[in-house]
């Protein structure tokens, strides 16, 4: 309502002005007195609408009629007046209707413009429009914000130069830029859009902002660029984000290139799109050799059909969403394989589809080797331990380990279960009492056992001790404990370990052996006693017989007849032979090995001595004796003389019709000296060749070949004493050869008490 008052005010004013003007111009308007009023009505109606129009029409018309045409007091005097009123009524109606329509259109337009501006002001991008002179003809709120202006109107109202003074601009590298670099200049020059990213520094602030500005031309009807519309925004954050992303990417790349893992990025189809440096270096390939190729076509992984198939299937599985991992071998160069922990895993995009496959490999050659070693070692250790347990459990002895010294705190840390079997005591009984072994040691052996233990302890060397133990059931068991010191790698004493074995049987054997030895010694003594008796006590009565028979012969010669003398002779002869027999037996019994010292013997000398002893017989039989060069041997000197003497004597004795020819030979045969005594005597029948060495064996009657039958037996015993052999080869009527061997080197002579001496 308040708005309509001015409209009616204007209507009255227009009416009065129209009346006034009509009055003034009345002479020119006599024909058309209402022209000006019509104009005022149009004006009023167009401005205020139907009401004000009608008011102006009534006031104007009535005033003109009353004051100018004739003063009248009725409003409607004639039909003409009614026509006039209707005319104005219609005119006003028409004009006001026209105006109302126009106003509506304008309001709509204004609303559109307001909405547009609201939208533009709500946009984050700064939007301005500049004409060719750079004058800002439009600016939105964001543009003021970005350019640090108080409001968008100041943008439009402020001069360009002043606006530009508020900030300076720099290019991407930080170099100052002139304002002519702004894209609008390009737009006006080329009529094409232009873009620029620059840094903007608002004077008075301490920050630079990154601005992206795009300028677009707006053409007029003639196709000329009328305006440049700038759309710009602050891209600082986005740019920083981009730079940060770039940095991250670089860093990731560095990480990728510097880790000890081979990495390749694949498409889900398996084509390589990225590969890291270690992988290139290891394979000595270039990125271009790999990028774009299928992973399962790369030589280091596809050196055999089998592994190629496996990689191929892995790609398929990974592309289906699985993560594949296995150890495989990669061929780096000719024959140079490494073991790789290979993994192929899918990487998903935000939409859940598989974007890439990541193939990675870790060189585990060394680890693999070590693991294998440890595994082998573990297996070995395990099997060794098991074997050791088995050995300890089955060894026929008590395995033990003690710590502490003898004087201080001996403790049995371990004792094998055999102790129970051997002595009846359980390992627990043994282990809980440090002096247990002393307690079960036979009282008579206790002192000696402790001394033995102490000796081993202080010698620091392995040693054996022997003592008797009283078993749980009262048996006496002979024990031998083999002990060694346990030391750590720094030679520090830890304790003792060893095995105790039951030597009861051995001890019994030793005792019986000792008894046998004593028996043997006694028997040997008896034998030599017997030999002595033979040499002395048997000969004395013999001498008596001989002497007194001879005495009878001499004293009573004239009283004896021929028979008497012959009988006496037989008796004397028998006694004499008995003496020889006794002497030979004695010699034979004295061939005692233990009493035969060996020395270096020159066999030349021995042979000569033997020949010398036989000289009388040699002369009698006119024998010739030849010999090979004789060696020096290790033997008993007097035995060798005796041996040669007996053999040569034998050859001389059993000679044939011809004069004896005897050859003594010698040659080296392997480890032996082989001696031979060859004659041309009567020879020996083959069947007797063995028997001749048996004592008292005779092949011929005594009358023809005298002798006791002991000679060759003595030879055999001498040779056997020297670890040799003796035998004879013979052809009756042609001759006999005796052979014997003497070892070049004698094995160590066994003595009955050797064991005791070595202790």
């Amino acid at each position: 309502m308040s708005a309509s008052i001015p409209k009616y005010g204007f209507a009255v004013t227009f009416a009065l002005i129209a009346v006034l003007l009509t009055a003034l111009l009345w002479p020119y308007l006599a024909e058309t007195p209402f022209v000006i009023v019509i104009g005022a009505v149009i004006l009023s109606a167009s401005r205020g609408g139907f009401g004000p129009g009608m008011l102006t029409a009534i006031i104007g018309v009535l005033s003109v009629k009353y004051f100018l045409i004739e003063p009248r007091y009725e409003i409607i005097a004639s039909f003409n007046d009614v026509i006039q009123l209707i005319f104005f009524l219609l005119l006003t109606l028409f004009i006001s209707g026209l105006e109302e329509n126009r106003n509506q259109t304008e309001r709509a337009l204004r609303q559109v413009k307001d909405e547009l501006e609201t939208i533009l002001n709500g946009v984050a991008e700064g939007i301005t429009a500049q004409d060719i002179n750079g004058k800002v003809v439009f600016a939105n709120s964001a543009s003021a914000l970005i350019t640090n202006q108080p409001s968008r109107t100041t943008m439009i109202e402020t001069r360009l130069e002043k606006l530009q003074e508020a900030f300076e601009i720099f290019d991407e590298n930080g170099k100052p830029l002139p304002y002519t670099a702004m894209p609008r200049h390009q737009v006006f020059a080329n009529g094409a859009p232009s873009e620029l990213v620059f840094q903007q520094h608002i004077i008075g602030s301490d920050s630079r902002r990154w601005i992206r500005l795009k300028s677009t031309p707006v053409f007029d009807d003639k196709g000329k660029v009328r305006l440049a519309v700038n759309i710009f925004r602050d891209v600082t954050e986005r740019r920083e984000l981009a730079i940060a992303r770039q940095e991250t990417e670089k860093r990731l790349r560095k990480v990728l290139d510097n880790m000890a893992i081979f990495v390749a990025v694949l498409t889900p189809e398996g084509n390589v799109i990225e590969v890291n440096r270690p992988a290139l270096e290891a394979t000595r390939l270039k990125a271009e050799d790999i990028i774009g190729k299928r992973l399962d076509a790369l030589k280091p992984l596809a050196y055999s059909d089998e592994i190629q198939q496996r990689i191929h299937h892995s790609i398929q599985s990974a592309a289906a969403g699985q993560t594949i991992r296995f150890d495989t071998r990669a061929l780096l160069a000719e024959d140079h394989f490494i073991t790789v922990d290979f993994m192929l895993a899918p990487v998903y995009a935000d939409d859940g589809t598989i974007q890439y496959l990541i193939a990675s490999g870790i060189d585990i050659t060394e680890r693999h080797r070590r693991e294998q070693e440890i595994l082998n070692l573990t297996i070995l250790t395990e099997s060794q331990r098991r074997r050791l347990d088995l050995i300890i459990a089955n060894v026929p002895g008590i395995v033990y380990e003690t710590t502490g010294t003898l004087e201080d705190n001996t403790r049995t840390d371990f004792i094998s279960g055999y102790v129970e079997k051997l002595l009846g005591y359980s390992p627990e009984e043994w282990e809980k009492d440090s002096d247990f072994w002393q307690k079960i040691t036979h009282p008579d052996d206790r002192e000696s056992a402790i001394k033995q233990a102490r000796d081993i302890f202080y010698s620091g060397r392995p040693g054996a001790m022997q003592f008797r133990c009283i078993a749980k059931d009262g048996r006496t068991v002979h024990i031998e404990a083999q002990s060694s010191m346990l030391k750590d790698k720094d030679d520090k004493y830890l304790g003792f370990c060893g095995v105790m074995t039951d030597i009861t049987e051995r001890k019994q054997h030793e005792e019986s052996l000792m008894k046998y030895a004593q028996e043997l010694t006694r028997s040997n003594e008896e034998l030599s006693q017997f030999a002595y008796v033979a040499s002395h006590d048997l000969q004395e009565p013999l001498r008596m017989v001989t002497s007194y028979l001879q005495m009878i012969e001499q004293r009573y010669k004239d009283k004896l007849d021929a028979d008497g003398i012959e009988f006496i002779n037989y008796s004397v002869d028998g006694a004499a032979r008995m003496k020889v027999l006794i002497n030979d037996l004695l010699a034979y019994s004295r061939l005692d090995r233990a009493r035969t010292p060996f020395q270096q013997v020159d066999m030349d000398t021995s042979l000569l001595m033997a020949i010398h002893h036989l000289q009388l017989t040699i002369d009698d039989t006119k024998a010739t004796i030849t010999h090979d060069p004789m060696p020096e041997i290790t033997a008993n000197d007097s035995h060798m003389i005796q041996l040669m003497q007996n053999l040569i004597g034998n050859a001389l004795k059993f000679h044939s019709e011809a004069a004896p020819q005897i050859h003594v030979g010698c040659k080296r045969e392997g480890d032996d000296w082989l001696f031979s005594v060859r004659d041309n005597g009567i020879g020996i029948e083959a069947e007797y060749l063995e028997r001749i060495f048996v004592i008292f064996q005779r092949l011929h009657p005594r009358e023809r070949y005298p002798g006791t039958g002991i000679g060759l037996a003595i030879c055999k015993k001498i040779v056997e004493t020297h670890d040799g052999r003796i035998w004879a080869e013979s052809q009756p009527g042609i001759g006999t050869t005796f052979y014997f061997t003497i070892p070049v080197k004698h094995r160590k002579r066994i003595r009955l008490n050797a064991e005791h001496e070595s202790r």
């Binding site: 040499s535 006590d537 001498r543 001879q550």
Partner: protein
């Protein structure tokens, strides 16, 4: 020679046959000899020491000693004689049947003056006894009494 003082010989011998043979051998000796006989080692030492019935026995100029004797054998007798300052200078001739080396060695080790094995042959025996007499009384200079 006939005027020479008689020589005293002590024969230590248990076998009467040998005693008789020795006596027979010495019977035709040119030397005037006195043969005393001890039948075992104990007797021999008693004789030397003039103990008991041997209180008046002469000190022998030579001893013919058999080794195997009853009671105390020849080796012990030899040892005692040679360890006795009064008797050790008296020549001891070991006259025995044994030709055992150990006997020979043992005898000499006990300072026997000589060792003779009795031969089986009668004549050899007689000859040996005569030789002993001839050697020890006509050749050897014996220590003064």
């Amino acid at each position: 020679m006939q005027n020479m003082k008689a020589v005293d010989i002590l024969l230590v011998e248990d076998n009467p046959g040998d005693i008789r043979l020795t006596q027979e051998a010495l019977k035709d000796s040119k030397l005037h000899n006195r043969l005393s006989v001890a039948r075992d080692g104990v007797e021999a030492l008693a004789f030397l020491r003039r103990q008991g019935e041997y209180a008046n026995s002469p000190r022998p100029d030579i001893i013919l000693l058999d080794l195997n004797l009853p009671r105390k054998d020849g080796r012990e007798v030899l040892e005692e004689i040679k360890n006795d300052d009064d008797f050790k200078r008296i020549p001891v001739v070991v006259l025995t049947t044994s030709n055992d080396e150990t006997d020979v060695l043992a005898s000499y080790n006990l300072h026997a003056n000589c060792y003779i094995t009795k031969p089986v042959d009668l004549n050899r025996f007689i000859q040996i006894v005569k030789s002993i007499e001839g050697f020890w009384f006509q050749i050897v200079k014996l220590p003064p009494e």
